[in-house]
């Protein structure tokens, strides 16, 4: 474990060095992240220009949920940049190299593909939350920051679990798929109160692709929606379960790896 931590910092250091060599790209990337975050905010603002409540949720509550969502999502995007795993590692055979090194293959890919500048999103998320939370007059208890960290980690694990599981498809079939980018779209639906959907979609977003645990469920704890507290506190559990499933799938997948050029 200690080794993994020190390897992580070694990689992170290298990453920053490389990044500072190409500063212009980093700026463009951070900017495009901001843009991405702004788009969703714009959506909420425009929609609430035409209505005052969305299935019983106010504009500030919706913005708060979005702010919360940004935090686990940014952590996920900084470390689990595996949407092009099949192309990069399977088709081009880069996994060969990974597999000749004495560190877990998934961990190595996390290290190689990290994009630390996405962590700026955590800041954006916090600002949005504080802004909306201020408007809503939310109180902060001494234990809330700890719960926040727990729920954020849970949410990030949910995202990681889903996307790692999808990436493992590459071990069985190296044909091109567009599932990953489309899944990013579906991830957005977890940010809206799930009671607006019908039961099928609600069920999917809760138990199959549990994106609701990255947005509305954990955020509802801070919004004092007591009827959803159970789901809020299930967040870390669901995160762990989905992440573990993903790692198991990954470990099985690695044994099915066919190598490049076959």
């Amino acid at each position: 474990m200690r080794d993994y931590v020190s390897v992580f910092f070694q990689y992170a250091g290298q990453y920053l060095k490389t990044r500072f060599t190409y500063r212009a790209d980093m700026v463009v990337e951070i900017f495009s992240d901001f843009l991405f975050q702004a788009v969703n905010l714009v959506f909420i603002l425009v929609v609430f220009g035409h209505t005052s409540l969305l299935a019983g949720w106010s504009k500030d509550e919706m913005i708060f949920i979005y702010g919360f969502f940004l935090v686990p999502f940014s952590i996920f995007s900084s470390f689990f940049n595996i949407w092009d795993f099949t192309d990069r590692y399977i088709v081009k055979g880069e996994l060969d190299r990974i597999l000749t090194r004495p560190v877990h293959s998934l961990f190595q890919i996390v290290l190689e593909r990290m994009e630390l500048e996405s962590l700026f999103g955590v800041g954006t998320g916090l600002i949005v939350m504080f802004y909306a939370g201020g408007d809503l007059g939310l109180d902060i208890n001494w234990y809330d920051p700890f719960i926040f960290i727990l729920l954020v980690l849970g949410g990030a694990l949910v995202y990681a679990g889903i996307f790692i599981s999808l990436a493992t498809i590459g071990f069985w079939s190296d044909s091109k798929t567009d599932i990953m980018p489309m899944m990013y779209n579906i991830g957005n639906y977890g940010r809206y109160p799930v009671n607006i959907y019908n039961n099928i979609i609600k069920y999917v977003l809760t138990w199959i692709l549990p994106f609701a645990f990255v947005g509305v469920y954990p955020a509802s704890y801070f919004l004092g929606r007591e009827n959803w507290y159970v789901f809020a506190f299930l967040t870390p559990v669901v995160g762990l379960v989905f992440f573990m499933i993903a790692v198991v799938l990954w470990n099985i997948g690695v044994t099915k790896y066919r190598g490049a050029g076959n």
């Binding site: 190409y22 212009a24 790209d25 463009v28 990337e29 900017f31 495009s32 843009l35 991405f36 788009v39 714009v42 959506f43 425009v46 929609v47 220009g49 035409h50 209505t51 409540l53 969305l54 299935a55 498809i169 079939s173 044909s175 091109k176 798929t177 567009d178 599932i179 489309m182 899944m183 779209n185 579906i186 639906y189 809206y192 109160p193 607006i196 959907y197 019908n198 979609i201 999917v204």
Partner: protein, 263 residues
Amino acid sequence: MGKYIEMIRIRFLMMLAYRTNYYSGILIYSINIGAYYFLWNAIYGGKENIQGLSITQMTTYLAVAWMARAFYFNNIDREIAMEIKEGKVAVEMVRPYPYLNMKMMQGLGEGIFRILFFSVPGMVIVTLVFPVDLSAHAATWLFFFLSLILSFIINTQINLLAGIATFFLFNNDGLIRAKRVVIDLFSGLILPISFYPMWAQNIMSYLPFQGISYIPSMIFTEGFKGNEILQALTTQAVWSLILILPIYVLWTIAKRQLVVQGG
């Protein structure tokens, strides 16, 4: 012309070869439309109409916008960026056809594939499940398809621009991502442009993005009527002509740079 048709055909076959992609594509498109349907239902919250669109029109708008996206959407920006980075563009330049035309044709092949095999079956599913109103007039369909072709041209031109920009930026991923976000927002895919506040609508009317999603979807839902349709189509046509200029300029500079650096 023959070689372009061949390129469309090859792309078509390539798309057909990835069947996981195909099945998951239909499923995910349907989920997208479903989720948006419920979201909009909640937004309407019993209101008769917002900005002149009824909830049925809104659902139709969404379904059409997403299905049309299947046609105009392509990844040639990423492909061009990749080919430039890997130095393949120099090879492609030697071939006896203009590189950009070829890319456009590949995009068209993908688009035709998706509209036939995603949009049509997807639309059938969506019409069965949600209150979508497809009973439009023949003329509406005709205008819609015309508008769809123009939206393909505009979107592909923007993709070409984003792809060529790789020549001038070391790592173009950020720009391509930003472009995608801007198109989703400003094209009217996730929100009809008429929903935006007036000042925003004014800005957007000077941008080409409305021609990608908003115009064809409004034509189909009959949110545009009579003269408005012709005006909208003209806007699209004008943009698809204007965009040729920056492509031409950037491409010429890029080619010169390619010759100097040897790819």
